[in-house]
């Protein structure tokens, strides 16, 4: 019976593991909502949850490629700290002298600099791993120590503040959101784009004469995607900006606060938009490019990849360069959110990122992992932590629960894979 069910889902092309993760997430949310008396599933909490998840989730998408190729990157947390400090120092100490304080280009130069720096450091680590054949565990363990130390040296441990006001919007504060109408627009646009892609894929398959899923299945899947996206936009638009902050926004624009209070709402946070863009690009890389295909082939059988003429060393360099660039994007989000850069930025993030990727179904034995799984994994971890904090679970107990859940999740994943014969 259970087997029949599995086959049924498989025949509909629905990933059982994905369903399980969504089920676990929903169960967590409902449980915390019940315990806290309805304080968990609120626009305010989900807004914070999505912003808190963004930084780790961005890195987790890169960690998928790293883990799929049987590598590991322990340096991302420290690298985040170093790149964050470098970007902070650049925009606070150097750029104001160079282009003038408050200049419009400061945030752009800072971001480009950060992403380039991250990619260069990542590719250097990848080069040591790929070409000098030092195990990734060791190289990135070294990086873990080196970059945390280097982060301190940037300012001799001083916190860099305040960051550029436009740069800070990327962290998703009160003003770092799309606002009401843009959020609606994004929701509708994303839904239409998803439907269009589903339609194109179906058309292509029909053109080749392949079997396609029953039409009602595609329609249901499309419907669920639409409801989730538009629902999220609606939920974020239901989170009003507090009166005092709203007053400041009106004043900055030279307007009077309207009678009866403001109607301003948060809408979708900019870090979430960044995560969305990263997720789309990474999924596309994984599924539709040679690079992505070679990542998975190398993870599945490195010898086969080599014999097929794939340059697996160069591939390693590229994967770690990508990981470095994504770490820099995460550093942008994390420091912008804080409004400052300090030496503690990204501390222990490597463990959160690896946990997110692994809970999301990336197998350390290589060959398996999905981008959407890693993002869901990050969301599950963050939900668990926020929820426990909200309920008032003691910090030591929180760690214990997270640790147990991590091991349990991987066990379930292995058992599932074994049963599916993969």
């Amino acid at each position: 019976m259970a087997k029949d069910k599995q086959n049924y889902f498989a025949s509909l092309g629905i990933d059982g593991r994905l369903l399980g993760m969504i089920g676990a997430l929903v169960a967590l949310w409902v449980m915390f909502d019940l315990i806290t008396g309805g304080r968990f599933i609120t626009p305010r909490n989900l807004f914070n949850l999505s912003v808190q998840t963004a930084s780790v989730a961005v890195m987790a998408t890169g960690m998928v490629f790293v883990i799929v190729t049987r590598n590991i990157d322990l340096s991302v947390g420290s690298l985040l700290g170093f790149v964050g400090m470098m970007m902070g120092a650049l925009q606070v100490y150097f750029l104001p002298d160079l282009v003038g304080g408050g200049h419009w280009s400061i945030w752009i130069i800072t971001c480009l600099f950060g992403v380039t720096l991250g990619a260069i450091i990542g590719s250097f680590q990848g080069w040591v791993i790929g070409y000098l054949a030092v195990p990734a565990f060791i190289v990135t363990l070294g990086g873990f120590l080196v970059w945390r130390g280097a982060a301190w040296w940037v300012t001799s441990g001083q916190t860099v503040a305040p960051l550029d006001p436009v740069f800070k919007l990327l962290g998703g504060g009160v003003e770092g959101t799309l606002g009401e109408s843009l959020s609606w627009a994004l929701g509708v646009f994303a839904t239409l784009a998803a439907l269009w892609l589903l339609y194109l894929s179906r058309k292509r398959k029909l053109a080749h004469g392949f079997l396609v899923k029953p039409f009602w299945v595609e329609l249901t899947v499309a419907g669920i995607i639409g409801v989730v996206i538009v629902g999220y936009a609606a939920f974020m638009n239901a989170y009003p900006i507090p009166a005092r902050a709203a007053k400041r926004i009106y004043e900055n624009k030279g307007l009077e606060l309207p009678d009866g209070g403001s109607a301003l709402v948060y809408g979708i946070a900019i870090p979430v938009v960044i995560l969305l863009i990263v997720a789309i690009i990474m999924t596309f890389l994984a599924k539709r490019t040679r690079f992505g295909r070679y990542v998975f082939a190398t993870g599945g059988n490195p010898d086969a990849a080599e014999l097929s003429g794939i340059n697996t060393r160069m591939l390693t360099v590229k994967i770690f360069a990508l990981m470095g660039a994504l770490t820099a994007i995460a550093a942008i989000i994390a420091s912008a959110r804080l409004g400052s850069a300090d030496n503690n930025l990204g501390n222990l993030d490597e463990l959160r990122v690896i946990a997110a990727a692994v809970i999301g179904g990336s197998a350390l034995s290589g060959g398996f992992g999905t981008i959407h799984g890693a993002i869901l994994g990050a969301l599950i971890m963050q939900s668990l932590q926020s929820g426990m904090a909200m309920v008032g679970v003691d910090a030591p107990l929180q760690s214990i629960v997270v640790g147990v859940v991590l091991v349990l999740a991987v066990y379930v994943d292995i058992a599932y894979r074994r049963r599916a014969g993969l």
Binding site: F210, T289, F296, A297, T298, N301
Partner: protein, 252 residues
């Protein structure tokens, strides 16, 4: 046949790994429409010799001639350029990918925008599979879920699809049942009739005597000799493999 230019000629090939001469001054050749068997114990150097042809190893010395022209093969990509395809003992499939992805690994079909075109690859895979192994129906599952014979079909399809002129089969039937072994045998005959040259590595003498035109035997990295199948019997071959002794009769 002797007057023809050989399809492949490997002259004085040698390679050593840390002082151990894995292949020592070995010369063999292969004509089109011919199957040459490579026999010898484990560690005799058969696979190593052939890996210099397929580009998996770079030779320390020796010459490789394709159609009489001296060529340089430094990696698998070079070998593929000379229409040399290899079916490895270990199959060399990425277990986590589906049949189409494996068939086209390293040579993906792309859309006009340069993206991987999975649907086109699946369509091509279906076409070639209906020719090679009509029972093959699993196109979207990872190849780890397939049987040994089905996996071998994928490996063979990969070699055949790209119009190989020279096919290297390294223990192609080692992991297969009798029926599937028969399928591979029939395929070898078919490809031979199409004019391919095939190197068949095996330590199953029976297999080799049945399928090959000539047999080259190796022992301890050296070539014992090359004989025509009709000139020898099983015992002669065994003598060559075990004792490294060339049979007394005329050899080619």
């Amino acid at each position: 046949m002797e007057n023809q230019t050989p399809l492949v000629e490997m002259r004085d090939m040698h390679i050593a790994f840390g002082g151990n001469k894995a292949v020592d001054q070995v010369s063999i050749d292969l004509y089109s429409g011919e199957v040459v068997g490579l026999l010898g114990h484990n560690g005799a150097g058969k696979s190593t010799l052939i890996k210099m042809l397929s580009g998996a190893y770079k030779a320390d010395g020796g010459e490789i001639l394709i159609n009489g022209e001296l060529v340089e093969i430094n990696n698998p990509r070079d070998a593929r350029g000379y229409k040399i395809e290899t079916i490895y003992q270990t199959l060399a499939l990425a277990d986590n990918l589906d049949a189409g992805s494996n068939l086209f690994l390293g040579r993906e079909l792309l859309t006009p925008f340069g993206f991987v075109d999975d649907d086109a690859m699946e369509a091509e895979t279906r076409k070639i599979m209906s020719r090679l192994n009509p029972n093959f129906q699993t196109f979207s599952a990872p190849v780890s879920t397939l049987s040994g014979g089905q996996r071998q079909s994928v490996a063979i399809a990969r070699a055949v699809y790209f119009n190989a002129k020279i096919l290297i089969m390294d223990e192609p039937t080692a992991a297969l049942g009798p029926q599937e072994t028969q399928m591979v045998a029939e395929l070898v005959q078919k490809l031979k009739a199409e004019g391919l040259g095939i190197f068949l590595i095996s330590h199953d003498i029976h297999d080799v005597m049945e399928l090959c035109d000539r047999i080259s035997v190796m022992k301890n990295g050296k070539l014992v000799g090359t004989v025509r199948v009709e000139d020898v019997n099983d015992d002669d071959i065994l003598g060559m493999i075990i004792l490294g002794k060339k049979p007394m009769k005329n050899t080619s």
